[in-house]
């Protein structure tokens, strides 16, 4: 049965990868992801996994080796952060377009420059159009649960797309929490054996991976990729349901927290969702009804679930831990606002850009956001569409 352990986010990620037991792990150290690689290297050194570990000379080669390994027919994984993700960028797109079910923890860290090692979502948000499924984890338990489910989601025949499982650098990666760990056998049974359809190593049935694809076929291949991402919506829900049977913890595309009938809503992804939960509990004691809508899957974007969840609310604040320079607002805000555009009833949606470069965000900050929402509800007026929370101006 399950055991309960005190672990940091990176420790959980490494332990989960041990349980997944991938055929190949190619990785390069980068703060704050490094501990994952270190701990996993110990597992390899002690013979606890079947994994062939490829200690590459860069993240670009990490993703390149994963593409090679996954095409060969192996279950392949890597892990990275910020600049590491940026360096592998080109191959991140290729992994998705070759429809390779690679699973990669991304420990969210601010993208340079200036160089900064702390949390924000500029790294993974920048990769939002790369064709990878993105699952954001609120805490250590979710890292564990998301990584296990990611293997199934990625390898589902109607999906075949790579998955990033993100969690906040230092806040979660280096924060110790209580985590429920399943038995190895339970995890391995849940993820099952990997049956690649066209492995390179099937010498008797040779295939060509990565040919030149011009105007006569490229568009159709991209169209299929769009469809696969759409299919992932149902698959994520389905796998979430199956995982609930196994673990007792259920997962959906989004999560709601707080009074179901509350009409003040904050939308957040990552560890801040936990902070919002804390704020909501305090507000409840103060007699204010509030709600959190947590984005678990940002890609594919669960627009129907979000619309449904916001159908009766009065006002919405979207928390973005990254800026989209020159855009109307942050990436989550843009998607949410666009999803609500064709709703019959118009709900005011405001954006809060916060926490860039690891700037702390606390319960008091979130309560301020709810106070703003109360004002908007009262007056019907939005003073600032995009707000910058916790910055000196």
């Amino acid at each position: 049965m399950e055991t309960i352990k005190a672990m940091t986010g990176d420790e959980v990620a490494a332990e989960t990868i041990r349980q997944i037991n991938p055929d190949v792990m190619a990785a390069y150290p980068i703060t704050p992801q490094t501990e994952i690689v270190q701990i996993f290297s110990e597992f390899v050194a002690n013979g606890l996994v079947d994994t062939e570990m490829v200690r590459v000379e860069s993240e670009h080669s990490a993703m390149s080796a994963c593409v090679g390994a996954a095409s060969a027919g192996a279950r392949a994984m890597t892990a990275t952060s910020a600049n590491g993700l940026a360096l592998m960028w080109e191959i991140v797109y290729i992994a998705a377009s070759l429809r390779l079910p690679i699973v990669m923890p991304v420990v969210n860290r601010a993208l340079s420059g200036p160089i900064n090692i702390h949390c924000d979502h500029s790294d993974s948000m920048g990769a939002r159009d790369s064709g990878w499924i993105q699952l954001y984890s609120e805490n250590c338990q979710e890292i564990y649960d998301n990584l296990i489910q990611a293997v199934r989601i990625a390898e589902d025949k109607s999906v075949l797309l790579p998955v990033m499982v993100t969690f906040d650098g230092f806040i979660i990666s280096h924060g110790t929490e209580r985590v429920k760990i399943l038995e190895d056998e339970q995890v391995r049974k849940f993820i099952g054996k990997y049956n690649p359809r066209y492995p390179l190593l099937d010498i008797d049935n040779p295939v060509t991976y990565g040919p030149l694809d011009l105007f006569d076929y490229y568009f159709e291949h991209k169209r299929q990729q769009v469809e696969a991402m759409k299919n992932a919506l149902d698959v994520i829900k389905k796998i979430g349901g199956e995982y609930a049977q196994l673990s007792g913890r259920s997962y959906d595309l989004i999560e709601e927290f707080g009074s179901p009938d509350a009409d003040l809503v904050v939308i957040a992804a990552g560890s801040t969702a936990g902070t919002v939960k804390g704020a909501i509990e305090e507000l409840k004691e103060e007699g204010i009804n509030a709600k959190l809508l947590k984005i678990r899957a940002f890609r594919p974007f669960p627009q129907d679930e979000i619309k449904q969840s916001l159908r009766k609310v009065a006002v919405v604040a979207v928390m973005d831990r990254s800026a989209s320079f020159g855009a109307v607002g942050g990436p989550i805000f843009l998607e949410v606002r666009s999803a609500l555009l064709d709703e019959e009833r118009r709900v005011p949606v405001v954006n809060y850009i916060y926490g860039l470069g690891g700037r702390n965000i606390g319960i008091e900050d979130i309560k301020k956001v709810f106070q703003d929402l109360i004002q908007i509800k009262k007056t019907g007026k939005v003073k600032n569409l995009v707000n910058y929370l916790g910055v000196r101006e």
Binding site: D23, V24, A26, D50, T51, E52, V54, R55, V56, E57, S58, H60, S61, S64, A65, C66, V67, G68, A69, A70, S71, A72, G73, A74, A76, E90, I91, I94, L200, L201, D202, I203, P206, V207, T208, Y209, G210, P211, L212, D213, L214, Y217
Partner: protein, 309 residues
């Protein structure tokens, strides 16, 4: 080595009908390499002429499992394939013996792919990397690379009034850089000497670790010579001392072919339009320096091979 007659009966793993230029050195090299292979192979390819000319979707010229990922990562990509093979073999999921070969041009190997190559060599993956070196970025239209020889006129190092010699820098010696990784087998070859080339491929594939062969790949378009002269040009490179044929087997140097009668470098320069400007009076000194450079390099190589000049 099997005779030419036997080789002509062997099934070719690289099909005709591809779209590389007439006279291109790359497909000749690929055929020679693959004819030397007796074990099943998986082939990787860097972006470049060879890749775009042989795999326009939905067609492929490759009859074995083949993968192209990007420009700079043929080595790291094949290292991932090889790692998967080792993992699955150890787990008893695969039982066949398979070898791994990556092809990259000089742009994808000397320049943008050198880090990926260096990393894969250091990690000790068992694979053969073949650089088909046509001495410039031919796929994008003959731009200079670090493999372009001094004096070559390319579209980004044209010979002009202010810079009459074309490319002013000597080329990078990648074979020596690779040798510094102390891998089991390193060699230089030319498609003008197919026997030598194929023997090297067989030695490379039997090495228990990484191996590398740098193969000069004449390019009629970029080097400016008639397309039916490719093999002659590939021979002239060796006969003039421009492209010595040698190997380094477990650290031991051996010159694999010594021309009985050497040709002057000038013959090599005269054979190609990319060097035409060097024959002008104003570039006389450059040609002298190029000749001297070749002789110095030859002396060094002879010393490394333990032979007297």
């Amino acid at each position: 080595m099997p005779s030419l007659k036997d080789l002509s009966k062997k099934e070719e793993l690289f099909s005709s009908g591809h779209r590389l230029c007439p006279g291109c050195g790359a497909p000749i090299i690929v055929r020679q390499v693959l004819l030397a292979v007796d074990t099943p192979v998986v082939v990787g390819c860097a972006t470049g002429c060879l890749e775009v000319g042989t795999t326009i979707y939905p067609f492929t010229a490759w009859k074995m499992p083949w993968i192209h990922n990007a420009f700079e990562n043929a080595a790291s990509t094949i290292s991932g394939v090889e790692a998967a093979y080792r993992s699955l073999k150890r787990q008893g999921k695969i039982d066949k013996e398979i070898r791994f070969i990556a092809f990259g041009g000089d742009g994808g190997t000397y320049d943008i792919g050198i880090q990926s190559l260096s990393g894969a060599l250091e990690r000790g993956h068992r694979f053969l990397y073949i650089c088909y070196d046509n001495e410039a970025y031919m796929n994008t239209g003959i731009q200079r690379s670090s493999a372009s020889p001094r004096g070559a006129s390319t579209t980004t190092s044209p010979a002009g009034k202010a810079i009459p010699e074309g490319k002013t820098e000597y080329r990078k010696d990648l074979t020596q850089i690779v040798a510094a990784h102390n891998i089991p087998y390193v060699a230089q070859a030319s498609p003008g000497y197919y026997n030598d080339l194929m023997k090297k491929v067989q030695k490379a594939l039997s090495a228990n670790g990484p191996s590398f062969i740098n193969i000069l790949s004449p390019c009629p378009r970029g080097w400016r010579y008639p397309a039916d002269q490719t093999i002659e040009i590939a021979k002239l490179a060796v006969l003039s001392g421009f492209w010595p044929l040698y190997e380094i087997e477990n650290g031991k140097y051996r010159i694999t072919y010594k021309p009985r009668k050497k040709k002057p470098l000038k013959d090599w320069l005269e054979s190609q339009g990319r060097f035409r400007h060097l024959l002008k009076e104003e570039n006389k000194k450059v040609v002298e320096e190029l000749q001297k450079n070749i002789e110095e390099k030859e002396k060094k190589l002879l010393a490394l091979a333990g032979e007297n000049a």
